[in-house]
């Protein structure tokens, strides 16, 4: 059994009560929200059989929302699994893409300040994400430059596409300019294309089953648009992490993009390289949700048709969401020769961390 560091690239933290966030907002906005009773986190779009889209064992001791109590997160994830570093990514940050751009920007600023003030200093293993209101890209760039230099802020987080445009569209480029300037990777997290009715290509899913199965479609489109709009040509040092969309779409997209690239070069000659080359150089993908093929090797054999795929994968638990991938389950389903890359080396390359500087795990379970 391999022992070594473990980096979890997708852990969802949250406030126990909305007024925790209000404390980081301007007084006038606080007044508006307090007086109106407005809930900035919309109700779930689809019922969940468990009543909530979280592990039912992850509530706080007094019933606090899952992900809101550091001690529970530490005791359920960080310590038992020997996590060296965990990237905290809100639950799930779509609040910042509210159609009211001023409210969205204020939520982003407050959420980042709240995260820094109440979480990051509690444990050296915790790192944060800069959530931004991407519906106003210049504002998002300002927020990245405001807090992205904090030593424990490790990525820029995009969740919903606030403008309803693919995230590679030039309108979003100020975000990538700022991220590249600060050396921060951009994480694109699935799940919040629900503000406009663009949840799935065929229309509105009629159930959580349908939505959950198809939720990755939008991120596949987003990363495609990064290639087609020449984002990696314009920002050659940009790194992108795709979070929670699974893996088995990757060979299909790489082959299809590579074929279409040669056919349609004339339309987009700024795409100077095969799309699969851009992916290998600029794109990382989290393992969760790991597809449950009948035999583990069916997935890895299929993924291995993409040369170097094991260098693109980063472990993520998605704790405390209901569809979390447990560490030992992931270990059993991936080849042992991939483990050190998936569990920490690839993430270190993504976040520009030194393996030797990772905190020693309290208990090593890898």
């Amino acid at each position: 059994m391999q022992h070594g560091p473990l980096i979890d690239c997708d852990v969802h933290h949250t406030w126990a009560r909305q007024d925790e966030l209000h404390a980081f907002m301007p007084a006038e906005l606080r007044t508006q929200l307090d007086e109106s009773g407005f809930r900035i986190r919309p109700a779930s779009s689809y019922p969940h059989t468990g009543g909530v889209n979280k592990r039912l064992d992850s509530f706080g001791p007094a019933g606090e929302p899952p992900g809101s109590q550091y001690e529970v997160l530490r005791d359920q994830l960080l310590d038992p699994f020997g996590v060296s570093r965990a990237v905290l990514s809100f639950d799930i940050g779509h609040e910042a893409s509210h159609p009211n751009p001023h409210l969205g920007a204020a939520i982003a600023r407050a959420a980042n300040d709240w995260s820094i003030a109440t979480w990051l200093d509690r444990d050296p293993r915790l790192h944060g994400a800069v959530i931004v209101a991407n519906q106003v890209p210049e504002e998002a760039a300002r927020e990245i430059r405001r807090v992205g230099g904090h030593p424990r802020m490790s990525e820029v987080l995009l969740v919903a596409g606030g403008l309803g445009m693919p995230l590679g569209h030039p309108v979003h480029h100020p975000i990538y300019e700022a991220a590249e300037e600060l050396g921060l990777p951009v994480a694109i997290h699935v799940g919040a294309e629900w503000l406009p009715p663009t949840l799935a290509a065929g229309g509105l899913p009629g159930s959580r089953f349908e939505y959950h199965t198809l939720a990755g479609q939008s991120v596949v489109h987003h990363v495609t648009s990064f290639v087609t709009h020449g984002v990696f040509e314009r920002f050659p040092r940009l790194r992108v992490l795709l979070v929670e969309i699974g893996l088995s779409w990757l060979p299909w997209l790489m082959w299809t993009l590579d074929a279409a690239y040669a056919d349609l070069r004339r339309e987009s000659p700024w795409v100077r390289r095969r799309p699969s080359e851009y992916f290998r150089e600029h794109v990382w993908i989290t393992t969760q949700p790991l597809e449950m093929t009948p035999r583990p090797e069916q997935l890895t054999d299929f993924l291995s048709t993409v040369e170097g795929v094991e260098d693109m994968l980063c472990f993520a638990s998605d704790y405390p969401h209901w569809d979390t991938d447990e560490l030992l389950y992931v270990k059993k389903r991936l080849p042992a020769e991939w483990h050190s890359k998936v569990f920490y080396e690839n993430a270190c390359r993504l976040f520009d961390w030194s393996v030797s500087e990772l905190p020693a795990p309290a208990v090593s379970a890898t």
Binding site: P170, H229, G230, V231, R234, Y261, R265, R266, P269, W270
Partner: protein, 126 residues
């Protein structure tokens, strides 16, 4: 010794069009572009499309995303099936320099067009 074949008068090859000619049992596409002649195989290296039906098109490049430019240089022929673009001077595909359309040495002497099916165009110009 040159193995060049006389394939006709220079006036037989109008500017801006690809004309198929038979040379020693193979079909070759001949393009006249701005008075210069180029010759290439009638088979796209991608999937074998008939390149004598290729469209000569202006070379289009990009300075950056959304910034098109049309640099001076040899013209490009676009495959009639998938649109792959090949530079007619050395046959390289613009999308992937590893893929090449076969080209042939071609010249004009005393008003006659001479094509050497045994020599590549790039070698002839070297």
């Amino acid at each position: 010794m040159s193995e060049a074949v006389d394939i006709g008068a220079a006036s037989d090859f109008p500017d801006g069009a690809v004309r198929p000619v038979e040379v020693r049992g193979r079909t070759v596409g001949v393009l006249c572009w701005n008075g210069e002649l180029y010759a290439f195989a009638n088979r796209c290296p991608h999937m074998g499309a008939p390149m004598c039906m290729a469209r000569p098109v202006t070379r289009i490049e990009a300075r950056g995303p959304g910034e098109l430019e049309s640099p001076a240089g040899p013209p490009v022929v676009a495959c009639p099936w998938h649109g792959w673009e090949f530079s007619v001077d050395d046959g390289r595909a613009l999308a992937d320099a590893r893929s090449r359309l076969r080209t042939y040495a071609i010249s004009v002497q005393d008003g006659r067009v001479l094509l050497d099916p045994a020599r590549h165009a790039a070698a002839a110009r070297a």
